[in-house]
Amino acid sequence: MTNVIETRGLVKRYGDLTAVDHVDITVPQGTFFGLLGPNGAGKTTTLEMIEGIREPDEGDVRLFGEKVWPRNRAVLPRIGVQLQASAFFERLSVEEQLRCFADLYAVDHKQIDRMIEMVGLQEKRKTRTEDLSGGQKQRLSIACSLIHDPEVVFLDEPTAALDPQARRNLWDVLRAINDEGRTVVLTTHYMDEAEILCDQIAIIDRGQILTTDTPRNLITGLGSAYRILVSEGVLSDQEAAALPGVDSASLSDGTLAITTHTPSPVLAALAERDALQGLQVTGATLEDVFLTLTGREYRA
């Protein structure tokens, strides 16, 4: 499988700050790639260097094997970019905005209707972009970046301002795009989103890639315990602690919490005691991986 994106030793400095610090990213064609990291980690800067709108101080970027800096018009029709801050032509309606982008990419005007429907802006078709809500702007911006059916799509926090419906709709759209064999690169602060959508995840902090793997491997690699929650009264905490494979058990707020690294025998034992009513199992999530790797303190 060919790699559509390859960066080597990518560096970007702003004065004393090294915003991106020797980043190597390889994205094979058809991958759904997620770039995760705290605020200011360098996600946007990295993406923008790959897209060719920011000049790297060091290192090399290849998109489809081609250089992207300075502006390379050969690769531009093949990529679709939704920037973190959306920007539109002033005083144009949603429809006119998309029409302009359709013409800029020389694609059929049928795409306009398709895109409007795809991001659910049918009712706002004639509305000026200045009068759209934040989430609606975000959706229009995504529509503008997808109008020419690009081979690689870059989305910088596409779901940041979206309501739950729009968020799930966008997931469907992105999955469909990815199913057609096209590559998607996105950044997000929603770990559930990354876990559900991405094939590959890179976690970046202070400009450095900490790890790159599939969400599953990242989570199991953490080796953390499962928590099983049972309603109080079915069995006591001493009884629970005595079950095979249980690490610890404690009672609080009317709920018995059991921690274990081997959930199967514990669940079987609980089933025997008919204690499955209202039972909840929580495993480690991508969020735990993220917090473990990047720490819990605030970032600037």
Binding site: E51, G52, I53, R71, R73, L76, P77, I79, V81, L83, A85, A87, F88, F89, E90, R91, L92, E96, Q97, R99, C100, F101, A102, D103, L104, Y105, A106, C144
Partner: protein, 352 residues
């Protein structure tokens, strides 16, 4: 090409739908035209006004040629009300009133305005003398034909309109180039457009087309108001103003692009554009004609693009010059556009 038209379309709507643009680029300069037009409506008119009481044979029976000359010098209104006519003279509403009793032609004039009185007396006297000579049947030995050096076509509106039009177009082209590029840089639209596979030139040329359209509208409205409301008379090859304004739009767009490139905010760009255009408009005779200005000022004006534009506009619109008169200003403006365009291209930035 599709991107060029896409950008032109988008920018045209963006411009058209902003009422402020129309105020500043059309209504505002037009206000000056109307104001100056009314203020100087009668100034410089070379005719004296004369009220004729009853029939005055010497005037009524002038031979055709002399009559035409007379009409060039006097604006005659006829009345039978002698008292009212005298009252008008006294108030200075007319320069004189004339009546004939037998062979005596009586001119009533007011001493309040000595110059006018003398003019009317002298001129009318000449006609009476002429009539006397004619009556004698002898051909006159000497003839004097008095004509004003400027003909009627150099009434104030004739230089007010071209000057203000030049200013309006210069202002329009400069702002139209400066503002959008700063705005698009600050709101990051330029970065987004940079990711679209269009040529950078389409971005600039589409803006230029919008500016040219605006300049043509400005010219159309200015000339329509001038001709319709203030008796502006277009002479000679007035249509040469079209290519002239085209060249001027390119030159001022280059200035605007530079102003936009060196400004961080739209407010700063607008300030810089104003600081360039407003003094230039004064120095180039957009508001006050330079004919009587000191020669050093006229020299400065020759080097200013707006000075060249105004000169070219005056030549083609009102001075009755042939199409060649606009060529030099056009060459100058294009040369200016090339030099400043290159500077603008060097200063161009996609983002701050």
């Amino acid at each position: 090409m599709t991107s060029f038209w896409a950008l032109t379309r988008a920018q045209w709507f963006g411009f058209w739908r902003d009422k402020q643009n129309w105020f500043w680029l059309l209504a505002f300069p037009l206000m000056f035209l109307v104001l100056f037009g009314f203020l100087f409506r009668d100034a410089g008119a070379s005719k004296s006004s004369l009220t004729q009481i009853g029939s005055v044979a010497i005037i009524d029976q002038l031979p055709a040629e002399a009559k035409a000359q007379f009409d060039n010098l006097f604006e005659v209104t006829k009345t039978d009300d002698a008292a009212a006519a005298l009252e008008e003279v006294r108030k200075g509403d007319v320069d004189g009133a004339v009546e004939q009793k037998g062979n005596e032609v009586i001119l009533h004039y007011s001493q309040a305005d000595q110059v006018k009185a003398a003019t009317v007396r002298g001129t009318l006297g000449a006609f009476v003398d002429g009539a006397n000579v004619a009556m004698s049947g002898q051909p006159p030995t000497f003839t004097l034909k008095a004509e004003a050096a400027e003909d009627d076509s150099l009434k104030p509106i004739q230089f007010i309109a071209p000057g203000l039009l030049g200013w309006a177009v210069a202002m329009g082209a400069t702002f139209n180039a400066a503002m959008p590029f700063v705005t698009w840089r600050t709101n990051k639209l330029l970065r987004r457009l940079r990711l679209a596979p269009m040529r950078t030139e389409s971005l600039v040329s589409s803006r230029l087309l919008v500016s040219i359209a605006v300049a043509m509208i400005q010219m159309g409205v200015f000339l329509a108001v001038g001709v319709g409301l203030f008796d502006l008379k277009l002479t000679g090859s007035w249509w040469m103003a079209i290519p002239l304004l085209l060249c001027a739009t390119i030159a001022f767009m280059a200035i605007g692009l530079i102003a936009g490139a060196i400004s961080k905010t739209a407010e700063a760009a607008s300030g810089i554009a104003n600081v360039i255009i407003l003094p230039m408009a004064f120095l180039s005779g957009s508001f006050i004609p330079l004919d009587q200005a000191p020669s050093w000022l006229q020299t400065i004006a020759k080097f200013l693009p707006l000075g060249q534009l105004n000169e070219g506009l005056l030549d083609s619109l009102v001075r009755g010059e042939g199409p060649g008169a606009a060529l030099m200003p056009m060459v100058y403006l294009l040369g200016f556009a090339v030099v400043f365009g290159l500077i603008a291209a060097r200063l161009f930035r996609w983002e701050d």
